[in-house]
């Protein structure tokens, strides 16, 4: 049985501190406190700056004696985060978990992971390889992914693609146009028209 009294306290504490940390945790539904949604801002001075990343949190029955399960729902380009599934490779979410950690501190650690990738212990081998071999490309891709998926304007990127397709552009071209301009629908339209 999850210790809901503690979860409740954690949520309160987190919302009290939201101004300073920018970290938000809310239950997906009021009925079940074991399924939560966390939000972290991309750390400043990294390719993730300006993005807002959503993390799906589910609490195991033994919480807080077992780590919470966390997974990015926002797509992230990072050596330690799966670009496909959003799975996070972080020791405190596995064998280094401690019951003194909270959802907020765990999310802070995830945020810190964004600013300090560990390519030697990768979750996504492709990203890690790129990080090690061609750092500039990595930064570009990471920034592009942030622009595309982690900005409020880019949240409905599929919808934008759909609208461009409705205008008569092929989906692949529409998507790539959107990606090159960083998700701005009008700029993408211009690109498509001029191209």
């Amino acid at each position: 049985m999850v210790d809901f009294a503690r979860v409740q306290k954690e949520l309160q504490e987190c919302s009290r501190d939201i101004e300073r940390s920018g970290i938000k945790v809310v239950p997906k539904s009021d009925a079940n406190l074991a399924c939560l949604l966390g939000t972290i801002p991309g750390p400043i001075g990294t390719p993730y700056e300006g993005g807002t990343f959503q993390i799906d949190i589910s609490l195991p029955d033994a919480y807080p004696f077992e780590p919470p399960k966390m997974q990015f729902t926002t797509k992230v380009w990072h050596p330690n985060i799966s670009s496909q599934s959003g799975a996070i490779c972080l020791d405190i979410l596995k064998d280094q978990w401690s019951p003194a950690l909270t959802l907020k501190t765990a999310l802070l650690s995830v945020q810190a992971l964004l600013s300090a990738p560990q390519p030697d212990d990768p979750q996504d081998a492709v990203v890690a390889q790129q990080y090690l071999r061609d750092y500039q490309t990595f930064v570009g891709t990471a920034r592009y992914w942030t622009e595309s998926f982690a900005k409020s304007s880019s949240i409905g990127i599929d919808e934008k693609v759909k609208r461009l397709v409705e205008m008569g552009f092929p989906e692949g071209r529409a998507r790539s146009a959107l990606e090159t301009v960083g998700g701005d629908e009008n700029l993408a339209l211009e690109t498509l028209c001029s191209g």
Partner: protein, 400 residues
């Protein structure tokens, strides 16, 4: 030196003091035949007691030589003729104290310990020097009890109270320090201060939160939960249930028992044991005191794992509980702990008896090594329990 009371050891022909005895070795002197237990308030023999049940042996008529004290008391007792009457009155009205009481014209009975009982406690074998001061005793302020009303907080008589009002104790603020008994004063001040300290510590402890459940430890719903778990190696507070839960939780994949579970959840310092305590400490000395007193308490309790030498305690020599070796036990015979076995479950015993015959059949197949037999795992386990099937743990049993 007047030796008025017959020495009772001498009367039995066994006084080791001889000439130096304070009591009379002269058969002409009367023996002191007063029951001291009765005087202190409780003689188990009651009416069957062979000593006299008289209250107040210290008769002190003014002006009498105090060394004649006991003798006087006897005279006084016999003068009373009906000792039971004095007894029934509840208080011993010894002439000395009588006059004292009448002088105060007080209906107040002196608090629990009557003034005379103090001097009586010194017993019948009192030294002469004690007797010498005997007369002045009741008058000596140190022998007078302080007013119990004032000590409890408020004496309705105030200034007019015939009893001594104690000085104010700086810790508890009550008039309970006897002005003329320095030892008692110090004793009280010391215990009072300790109590005060403990109270302060308890107050401070109220505020402390457990970092696992995020609740105040001393505000948990049930009394059993309102305890701290003190880690041996660091000073981070947890409630006992949380820290025990964490330390005994089944490690999730990859979690190492020693580096993760045995470590402090906050600083990750490895601690080998947790001590329960209702109070949180402030200083290193206080922590040591808590730990030491806990260990001392446990070391007086027999270890149930060790089972007086018949069981195997997983903590070995570092166990906090007492390991008493009973003659005839395994350890007593072999000077080493018995091999580890799972504790027999009560529900299994009947079934095992029923299966025992079957095992005897298996034993007959001696040509086969047990490993060759196609024995189901459950049966193998049962065989291990019976010591018929070799396992790692029972191997060493055969090796000595």
């Amino acid at each position: 030196m007047a030796k008025r009371v017959l020495c009772k050891f001498f009367a039995h022909g066994a006084c080791l003091k001889g000439e130096h005895c304070e009591f009379s070795h002269d058969w002409k002197d009367p023996s002191n035949n007063i029951c001291t237990f009765y005087q202190k308030g409780a003689c188990a023999f009651g009416s069957r007691c062979r000593y006299e049940h008289v209250k107040g042996s210290r008769a002190q008529s003014s002006g009498s030589s105090s060394s004649a004290n006991s003798h006087q008391s006897l005279a006084f007792d016999s003068a009373l003729a009906h000792p039971s009457r004095t007894a029934s009155s509840g208080v011993a009205l010894v002439p000395g104290t009588l006059s004292e009481l009448s002088a105060f014209s007080s209906p107040f009975l002196p608090p629990p310990k009557p003034a005379w009982s103090d001097s009586l406690d010194d017993g019948d074998f009192d030294h002469n020097e004690d007797d010498d001061v005997g007369e002045t005793r009741s008058a000596r302020p140190a022998d007078r009890a302080i007013c119990s009303f004032a000590a409890a907080g408020n004496c309705p008589r105030g200034e007019n109270c015939p009893h001594i009002h104690g000085d104010i104790c700086p810790s508890c603020g009550k008039h309970c320090l006897h002005p003329y008994r320095p030892v008692e004063r110090e004793e009280h001040m010391r215990t009072c201060e300790e109590k005060h300290k403990q109270l302060e510590a308890l107050k401070r402890s109220q505020e402390i939160e457990c970092s696992v459940c995020l609740e105040r430890v001393l505000s948990k719903p049930t009394v059993a939960e309102r305890k701290f778990g003190i880690l041996s190696e660091c000073d981070h507070p947890f409630c006992i249930s949380c820290i025990r839960n964490w330390r005994s939780s089944s490690p999730t994949s990859g979690m190492d028992v020693n580096s993760a579970l045995r470590a402090c959840p906050i600083c990750r310092k490895l601690s080998y044991f947790v001590i329960p305590s209702v109070i949180w400490y402030n200083t290193k000395e206080e922590k040591e005191e808590i730990v030491d007193s806990y260990k001392a308490r446990l070391s007086s309790i027999d270890c149930k794992h060790f089972d007086f030498g018949n069981g195997n305690c997983p903590f070995g020599t570092s166990c906090f509980y007492k390991h008493t070796v009973k003659p005839g036990s395994y350890v007593w015979k072999f000077h080493r702990p018995p091999p580890r076995r799972p504790p027999p479950r009560r529900s299994d015993t009947v079934r095992m008896d029923a299966l025992y015959e079957m095992f005897e059949h298996l034993e007959e197949l001696e040509d086969y090594t047990p490993g060759d037999l196609d024995i189901p795992l459950e049966v193998q386990l049962l065989l291990m329990q019976l010591g018929l099937y070799p396992s790692d743990s029972s191997d060493d049993e055969l090796n000595y």
